[in-house]
């Protein structure tokens, strides 16, 4: 009899304390959950221009939420935010028949990305009115530069002086412009990305690169003669190699479209540029990246480099046989 009473007594003593502790533990977590749910509710209650959120269950793994657009504001870049890191997209371009088409569809892509600054560098002696007009009409936040690749570099030269990869001088000019314009101490956070005008970019890619601290990397489709090339990522989330067939032992066996660099890193290493001469095919990216970062510091994106968010598409050169020597069509009409 006393035993049962003792037991009852002990249980009655211990019970409230255990309940108290569990409740206290719960209350530490639930306010966080409550905040999330409330925000989602607020997000839906907005009537017209709404974004519906699709969140993953474990925010520890993904810092970025997937945004599915239900209705959209048309033909206008999103308003500038003071908090979001800016993405500086460097695009070298050169005059050829498909140039306006390429820049048009690239601009249509970039118009969806918030806080985007497009740095377009023409390969030419002066800035062409075609590009100036195009840039002005898009309404994008842009910088229009130009620098001419010296003629002996452009031509497929002899073996003693091999052709430098296209766009190098233009990209270097853009890097120099960034270093002259931005101060490492008091500028908004930024990311630098090299985007060629004939590739295809998904909108998700820009959000992936926005959180770059030093240099982030991801897979690129249709390069190196493969469906896609990608960095090799180990279970700790660190890059340890490159899944390519073409010279996987390059320091950075990655395409220009496969990495982004934090602006701060660019500004802090003012001597880092793409090497102009004596660069073997496929080593151009390495020539810049080896000055900036080591393999260990690379941040893999796109779900640990398992998703393809950028495609290295190339546009066919249009066959203009019917133009003839004198040009059949009116040259005043801009294409």
């Amino acid at each position: 009899m006393p035993k049962r009473r003792d037991i009852v007594a002990i249980v009655l003593i211990v019970l409230p304390w255990t309940l108290l502790i569990t409740v206290w533990h719960q209350s530490a977590i639930t306010p966080l959950l409550a905040t999330r749910k409330d925000d989602r509710g607020d997000g839906r209650s907005n009537s017209r221009n709404t974004f519906a959120f699709k969140e993953s269950c474990s925010p520890q793994n993904r810092d970025i939420v997937e945004v599915v657009r239900t209705e959209y504001v048309y033909s206008r870049p999103p308003p500038w935010s003071d908090i979001l890191p800016a993405i500086h997209v460097i695009t070298p371009t050169y005059s050829r028949p498909v140039q306006k088409a390429e820049l048009t569809r690239l601009a249509n892509t970039l118009l969806h990305v918030p806080n985007l600054h497009w740095i377009l560098v023409e390969d030419g002696q002066k800035r062409t009115p075609l590009v100036s007009r195009l840039l002005r009409d898009t309404g994008l936040n842009y910088t229009h530069l130009n620098v001419e690749t010296p003629r002996n570099y452009k031509v497929r030269g002899d073996t003693r002086d091999p052709r430098i990869p296209r766009g190098t001088i233009q990209r270097n000019l853009a890097l120099r412009w960034l270093r002259e314009t931005f101060n490492i101490n008091n500028s908004q956070a930024g990311i630098v990305y090299f985007a060629d005008d004939d590739n295809t970019y998904s909108l998700e890619l820009f959000e992936e690169m926005r959180s770059t601290k030093k240099v982030s990397v991801w897979p690129v489709a249709f390069v190196g003669g493969l469906r896609y090339e990608s960095p090799k990522v180990n279970t700790f989330g660190k890059v340890y190699g490159w899944k390519t067939v073409f010279d996987p032992h390059r320091p950075f066996a990655i395409d220009m479209a496969g990495f982004a660099v934090n602006l701060r890193l660019i500004l802090s290493k003012p001597q880092a540029y793409f090497k102009l001469r004596g660069v073997k095919g496929g080593y151009q990216e390495s020539s810049l990246l080896k000055e900036l970062v080591t393999l260990n510091d690379l941040e893999p994106k796109a779900s640990n480099c398992t998703k393809v968010l950028v495609w290295h598409t190339r546009t066919e050169k249009p066959v203009l046989v019917n133009e003839g020597k004198k040009g059949f069509t009116d040259s005043n009409v801009e294409i």
């Binding site: 907005n46 069509t329 294409i335």
Partner: protein, 336 residues
Amino acid sequence: MATRMKLKLKTVFVLYFMVSLLGLVYALMQLGQRCDCTEHDMPKDRTISRLRGELHRLQEKMRKAESTKQPQKSQPKPSLPTIFVITPTYARLVQKAELTRLSQTFLHVPQLHWIVVEDSPHKTPLVSEFLAKSGLPYTHLHMPTAKDRKLQEGDPSWLKPRGVEQRNEGLRWLREDRRAQPGGDSQQGVVYFADDDNTYSVPLFDEMRNTQRVSVWPVGLVGGMKYERPVVEGGKVVRFHTGWRPSRPFPMDMAGFAVSLKLVLANPEACFDGEAPMGFLESSFLQGLVTMDELEPKADNCSKVLVWHTRTEKPKMKREEALQAQGLGSDPAVEV
């Protein structure tokens, strides 16, 4: 002495129970309210909530900008005629990339309905998932091309007409869908055939929106020339400027014209003829619908190029094929 002790113990116990009960009730009430969680906040969560707040702020900005713009707009959105874009597509390496950048252009066009018709016996998951995430209003159809009509590996692209069955299927669906919705409003609209590798500028869709019968405009980089275009005199199309077979009834590219929905519905037999000789595909459709002088010239009397007939190179897969022969091909689960 003993009873007094006992009594004291009893009161102690009672007091203890009361206190713990009160504490429990208090804690339960605290559950419903937000606590000051700065000790619990992890930096990631803080970033997330900060970014979310930023997003809301930006949405507010956009909404304010839209509402100030509204009174200046001539017509409220619902009465804008819908542009029905029919895009035939087929599975190949660059398909997802092409559809991605096409959708990025279409997202800028209000009141656009995308009809994607796959050349396939069934709907593929790649296209289904892509369309669901695209953010566009869409209809997903499929229609396989008969084997003898299909281009084989190594055939030049001009050998057989492409996309015929798919465009006809798009037209068929449109006619059926509109028949199910009687009323004048549902007859308003424009039908445009947009291939998935061309490049479209956003102003093009503004130009075609008020098509009464068939409107036309120049197309860049087609017909072996910088551009092809209808020649306009006195506001009417008198002939066509093209480098190849200008004697065709309508020597235009698929991307160079749009048809009003009314006309499509009024002529239920009008469709593309797969048997037509090379280059006559567009004519086979337009012949029954309109005559040359009824054409409506757009794009500044057909002097501006707003659409380009770009073509995407087939990516070189030599190394991939070599790897696959060794059984070391890239992960097919990764969608490209």
